[in-house]
Assembly symmetry: none
Homo-oligomer: 283 residues x 2
DNA sequence: GAATTCATGGAATGAATATTTCAAATCGCG
DNA sequence: CGCGATTTGAAATATTCATTCCATGAATTC
């Protein structure tokens, strides 16, 4: 063993972050053997292909042997090609996961300060991604449909438990300010089913709920549907159990971070509805 | 061959585009068997995992058998799971496609009421501007200071009225989930001053309030300060009357649109605090 | 210019993976 | 309640894939 002490010991540090790897590749590109340099060039030019392809398919496109890919990965300290490929995949993967990984890394390496920074940055990014997703997934026509439905309602019932409660309560605040009659269902008192009992076809309801769905929210929504109350649902999947046959539903994908979702996109949608409804009533 | 003409010929139409596939999944979700629906829901919620994972790893996460994934793919006209997976990968591949998709989406989106569209766009933009402002104005060191203060507290009192109430209530939810003892002050019952009376120097409080400051929030905050309770303030101006001499305060500028503020930046800051505090306690 | 190290191509190997198959379970319908 | 059809779970199978190995070729050094 001791006779092998001067073998490859440098292996230890293989960059887990794509940008670190990129830097390593750039800095070493002149010392790299011909074929390995070829691989590096291809990987930099087509990182997406590296992320998804198989060793064989990439080898063909980069015009090298599959074994060269393995050697390349090992030259950078990875165990094999698959190991290196992960780095390329993480680059594309949902950012949240890469963030929580970064957090875990920070946890062991540095003090709490850096961790807070990463946490904060993660939430800031989360906001922006939520905004992007919101724009992509919510069709304006459907907002119009919901507004029409809500504008005709006598009273708007707001259903939202647990995580969704802040949204409902903000809606309640907004409707109040806008002069739209609304009732917040989900108060700490237990009279909610009775309150909801007054709702009828001439009213409307907005239910907000995300996985894991609070059982109460589900029950209330069903009750509302059975009473033929026009319904608007804000949830996180088209497969949500809250969605009934003729409700107007919205899918809102909130960036999930450390198990907590910022409600920014949901809030934005809710506010859009509130303001648009008030506006429609004025006309 | 002709003897097999009446077998499954419907295979022809398998969507090669992610969004088409998505639509197909949504429209067929009610006719799908239980496990296939389960796969559909998982795929919609975690498209990235589907893109990168293996049939086995996805099956575990979606809590089905690998074979079910194959069946699912075939049910939508694909040859097998790998064939379907390509669609999920292409979504992540070159961003250009996702950009053009987004443009196409915008096209169809603008079909509705122009005013609604403007409103919606305004709120979406608002989110992003809030995120930007948040990053700029909040120094990480101060977050650390607040976290330190809160991590030592026995009980964390949460003060937030009216517009800020959703933030406080979400904090209450988050702290509850994270196992941090907290009390939400601002319940519909009028016992708040008494509740706050229990707070002392060994506790801490988070007050959230924006202009126009709810008088109750102001009063509560003063009361808390007088009882020498360490205080963290989230507000919208360095001149806010809530800020006391030795509290840790944050200025959060929410984009204002049509007189309504989305609470996205405030939520993000609040969540950062909550998660960081829970983390600090673990250590 | 010979010897040694290093890089490379190509095939063999063994592990991991998608897919198929079949029996059991569940559901719908008479 | 019982029959057939559909759905589901679990294991068997066949494929694909990453990796290793070894012989050959190129480059470097003495």
């Amino acid at each position: 063993m001791s006779s092998e002490r001067d073998e490859i010991q440098v292996v230890s540090a293989a960059p887990r972050d794509f940008w670190q790897l990129r830097e390593a590749m750039v800095s070493r590109k002149d010392q790299l053997p011909k074929r390995l340099a070829q691989v590096a060039a291809y990987a930099m030019a087509n990182p997406d292909d590296v992320a998804f392809g198989t060793a064989a398919s990439i080898a063909v496109k980069a015009e090298v042997q599959p074994s060269t890919l393995v050697r390349f990965a090992q030259a950078f300290g990875y165990q094999g090609f698959s190991d290196l490929q992960e780095v390329f995949q993480d680059r594309l993967r949902d950012r949240t996961s890469s963030y929580s990984e970064r957090l875990r890394a920070l946890d062991t390496h540095t003090g709490g300060n850096a961790k807070t920074a990463a946490l904060f940055a993660g939430f800031c990014d989360g906001i922006e991604r939520s905004a992007e997703a919101l724009r992509e997934r919510v069709p304006v026509e459907r907002i119009d449909a919901a507004v029409m439905l809500l504008a005709q309602a006598e009273t708007i019932y707001l259903v939202g438990q647990r995580r969704s409660y802040p949204v409902s309560s903000y809606l309640s605040y907004a409707f109040g300010k806008l002069g739209v009659k609304s009732v917040l269902v989900g108060s700490p008192q237990g009279t909610d089913p009775e309150t909801l009992g007054f709702a009828g076809p001439r009213d409307a309801a907005i239910a907000v709920s995300f996985t894991p769905y609070a059982s109460a929210a589900l029950a209330y929504t069903r009750q509302v549907a059975e009473q033929n109350v026009p319904l608007v649902v804000i949830t996180d999947s088209p497969f949500s159990p809250l969605i009934t046959k003729d409700c107007v539903w919205f899918e809102v994908v909130e960036a999930d971070f450390e198990g907590f979702r910022l409600l920014s996109a949901t809030m934005a949608l809710a506010m859009t509805l509130a303001v648009a409804v008030a506006d429609a009533r004025r006309a």
